[in-house]
Symmetry: C2
Subunit: 583 residues, 2 copies
């Protein structure tokens, strides 16, 4: 017998599982992160009859992101800090088969920038992987909940935390990190699922040995990258506290054997303090799954001046552009542009505003990949201690962590968006490990003339065009689901689960869940019947005022003021609501 | 114009409101505490089609008792500590019209014996009355939520707290107190709704001037009471720390102008320390509403040895006994006997076990009112530091605070019950103000040969007979609702709302709410459609283990062990779930 290697083979179980629409085995539904389900019992014709089938309180308040996995008869549900994991036996009316509640130092709470969120657990090789707030990665026996192994992925005393969902690729579990507001250096690490030993680690910035960039081989929009290009874009050692954290979603193309993810904002938020392009913050990375080596990359917002983290999901689709079949990567960036790239070559094909309110740049040059910036909105040009007003989008972007969905039936993306602008005043800040390293005061509000903070849109990524728009009073902070029944689901911050027609966007159903929804809708079957599940539980950055009890308009990194009126609609509380058609 | 007097007149608005089944204007549905509704859109035929209409998280964990009031288009919902009150506008999809969140010293939490519960708010004279955990009574403008007045009803630093729902009678608001496990002396106080000034206060024990007993006039099973009879049943000043708190439900007969309620256990739980009958602990009181003067009383468990508080609801019904129309008072006591009295004269008509497991007494002599005690189960006879085993019911009684319902259509009572026995070991305890004054170690378990901890029963109070029994795995800690649709509703500790046929007890519908139910089901209409509403949120004495994070079997005054397996079924979290038939 050959000795165990995490790369030895594809994970046949996972590849098989992700093709079974009866289960929901990946945080994003599948490796391609499409959040699309082939289930079609619930359709645009009958969804109006949807009912709540059952509910489950997690016992935790504050923001509930992500959603449960369903593997066989078992549902695996996580909570925000303290990051409880429940295994609910669907054969026994959701009875709790096991519960895992880590003991974590609550001092991690104040170093989480945007609420005590967690975006979900991952499954693979008989284990459930939990990425704890305190940056520990824990492998739990899926049958018993017993800890198989755990690894310290980061140091929370330096402000490095965990909020993102892991992803199992082959026999490795991949995990990103959080802490861009604390000067943490971003990285993605692959661990052997069996032993918890590190297989590779790739930093977002630093020398090539750290970033796993191969000079001359790794490409940037088709051109080979120079040696240590990242280091040249930072002053001195600034890259060591340079941010570019990786707290979003990871996707995987098993055929190309590439993983994809984006990196976050450079630290600090005061751009004058960190001259240069700050590579590779704000960057889409395509890396070899086995080695972590960068195949290609593309920096969307060089030298960020607005906190436009590039971590939003990379959705992998196979679509025609100009009549040609292309392997695409589609990404709705915080900066308000929807990018379509060739996911094999890294070629930029389309980059268009997916919210017309976007004003910091006129457009993106698809050849150079560079934004055409509008000086008026440059917080660097206006300088320290000057308030740059009316920048759109706000720091939380035209979209934040809330993942979009893609339906191959309609060829459309369904994108939960923010419709928010901001004032941004940078100030000088000194770095102290474990202390906020932000350096800007923000306030947020709807675009001029508007009074709504969000839209749910359908997007054609081959053309870079909005197909339809559903205005929403608040940002849509929940992840969407598209199904073969031609229904698209999403949640609202007031707490509604909504179902709309995939073609027209017409609202077909709504239900008020116990709390605001920032979780991601998913679907599965049990005993042959299709269910829709969503976590409610107000929080996240948009809900930070209520989640953390903040009231000053510029508190919560500037988000509190804009979302204040949420308290008239909903309160905190983590509940899973599961829907089905009547028998 | 005559000067204002709280007694000047009946409260016409409240008398009118309680006759309108479209609203739910009293904590118990009506003054008679029947928890019966004339609404009949939802019937035993169609209830199987019931659906969840909407939900609302209170933002608070721990035990959610009571239920909302519905007055006009407004729903008034309360939470356990910190005792938030929400006004939800039913015309605006439950939008929060106002929220009142008192600032209370969290030191009150450890002096609440049985979780941080609150049994609801009361309405009257345009005000919402909230009885806070810290014993403050607050009057809120029903339209704005602004504080009209507040009164300190007790001293939480001495262990006196508030959990019970107030009741508005005429232009007075009546409120009981909690703290029997801290040597608090029970009392009911009437406040002027307009000014918050005290109108009368009646203690459970002490001199007649305190108890508002009129020697020679107030009767006990038809016989006049002697002067200062209470004082004679206590050693020295023990009555001052003698318990008999009044934390249950109050009912009112507008024609007789009498209010009814029961008093709790004598302090301490170690009976050897307090020789005598300990009057008037464990007593049903009928008092004149205007003056508080006692018309009649009846002590159910003289010299309690088991913590069988007499505070459970007094349900006022008009029924025939032996062919004669009687004005009845029906009461399911903690001690396991269902009592039927004449509510005008205080005559005891029926007293029978409503759980066959009851063993501390063989029967009650309806002439003398005295229980025929079984020596084996006498914790006094067995003495201090001796463990009396197998006493049924356990201290939490064959029923606790969870109110029953009565349907005039079937003539039956629907009673949520406990089916629990105990070991009870008294020990010597010294009184220190604000410290637990309990003096007994308990453990609880199902009756021998049984493995379920509860039953939901139908009871004929004219005969003292069980009509049918639905066994439940856990005690039924939620209040019942009976409707003219011949449906009876109740909740379970695992979190199910259940609907059963009022005649047969056949289960017709069940739904798993987010958390265990210890709230009380109610019903109302909005825009002509009937709704059923219930709070879930595990806690109360039965749920104290999970609510307070206790794990030792004898912790939580002995309740933790018996209910331990609840954690396999549900978790904490306060949610209102509202049901309706599909359109
Ligand atoms: O830079 C970082 O490390 C980091 C971490 C996180 C996070 O882990 O939640 C967020 C952000 N940044 C961020 O910029 C952001 O907008 C954000 C929103 C949320 C959320 O869950 O609602 N998290 C985060
Ligand atoms: O003696 C008292 O003052 C007192 C107060 C309370 C309360 O206020 O909740 C309870 C009890 N006793 C009690 O004996 C009891 O069984 C009980 C159960 C509950 C509950 O809400 O589940 N409260 C109380």
């Amino acid at each position: 017998l050959a000795s165990w290697s995490p790369l030895a083979s594809a994970n046949d179980e996972l590849l098989k599982l992700e093709k079974d629409p009866n289960q929901w085995t990946q945080p994003a539904g599948n490796y391609a992160n499409t959040r699309y389900s082939k289930l079609d019992q619930i359709t645009n014709k009958n969804v109006k009859k949807l009912q709540v089938a059952w509910t489950f309180s997690t016992g935790v308040l504050r923001g509930h992101e992500g959603g449960p996995l369903v593997i066989g008869n078992m549902m695996y549900l996580h909570s925000p800090f303290p990051n409880i994991v429940y295994a609910l036996d669907l054969d026994k009316n959701g009875q709790i088969a096991w519960k895992y509640e880590p003991k974590q130092d609550p001092n991690v709470i104040p170093v989480m920038c945007c609420d005590t969120v967690n975006r979900g657990v991952a499954y693979g090789d008989g284990l459930i992987f939990l990425h704890q707030a305190d940056a520990k990665l824990v492998a739990l026996d899926a049958k018993t909940g017993k800890v198989a192994w755990s690894a310290n992925d980061g140091d929370p005393t330096k402000g490095e935390t965990g909020t993102s969902a892991p992803l199992v690729v082959k026999h490795m579990v991949l995990v990103g990190n959080s802490g861009g507001e604390f000067g943490v250096r971003g990285k993605v690490t692959a661990y052997d699922t069996k032993t918890g030993k590190q297989v590779w680690r790739a930093y977002s910035m630093g020398p090539d040995a750290d970033t796993l960039i191969e000079p001359g081989k790794t490409t940037n929009l088709g051109k080979p990258i120079e040696a240590d290009e990242s280091l040249k874009t930072w002053q001195g050692d600034q890259w060591k506290i340079g941010g570019g954290t990786t707290w979003g979603w990871i996707s995987y193309d098993p055929e190309l054997n590439l993983i994809y993810y984006g990196t976050g904002n450079p630290s600090t938020w005061n751009p004058s303090q960190r001259p240069g392009d700050n590579k590779w913050s704000m960057t889409v990375f395509a890396r070899d799954a086995d080695t972590g080596k960068a195949k290609w990359l593309y920096q969307m917002t060089p030298h960020d001046e607005w906190d436009y983290d590039g971590v939003n999901e990379m959705v992998l689709t196979d679509q025609k552009i100009d009549g040609k079949d292309r392997k695409l990567l589609v990404h709705f960036d915080r900066n308000g542009f929807g990018y379509t790239l060739d996911r094999e070559s890294g070629e930029l094909l389309v980059a268009e505003k997916y919210d017309p309110a976007v004003n910091w740049a006129n457009k993106i040059d698809v050849k150079t990949g560079l934004p055409d910036r509008v000086k008026k909105y440059s917080t660097e040009a206006n300088g320290e201690d000057n308030n740059t007003q009316g920048v759109c989008p706000a720091a939380l972007g035209s979209k934040d962590q809330q993942p979009s969905a893609y339906s191959p039936k309609t060829g459309l993306f369904y994108v939960p968006t923010n419709h928010v602008c901001m004032d941004y005043e940078p100030f000088k800040v000194a770095y102290t490990a474990g202390q906020p390293y932000v350096g800007a005061t923000l306030s947020m509000y709807p675009p001029k003339g508007d009074d709504h903070l969000g839209n749910f849109i359908a997007w054609d990524a081959t053309k870079g065009k909005i197909k339809w728009t559903i205005p929403e009073q608040f940002s849509v902070w929940s992840g969407a689901l598209a199904t073969a029944g031609n229904v698209v689901f999403y949640g609202t911050l007031e707490g509604y689960l909504k179902a709309v027609d995939a073609e027209t966007g017409k609202e077909l159903y709504r239900f008020k869940t116990p709390s605001g929804i920032i979780g991601n809708v998913n679907t599965y079957t049990h005993n042959g019947k299709q269910y829709i599940a969503v976590l409610s539980g107000l929080g996240g950055w948009a809900g930070i005022g209520m989640a953390a009890g903040l009231t000053g308009d510029t508190e919560g990194l500037g988000a509190v003021g804009a979302y204040k009126s949420l308290s008239q609609y909903t309160q905190l509380g983590g509940t899973l609501t599961v829907f089905a058609l009547p028998d």
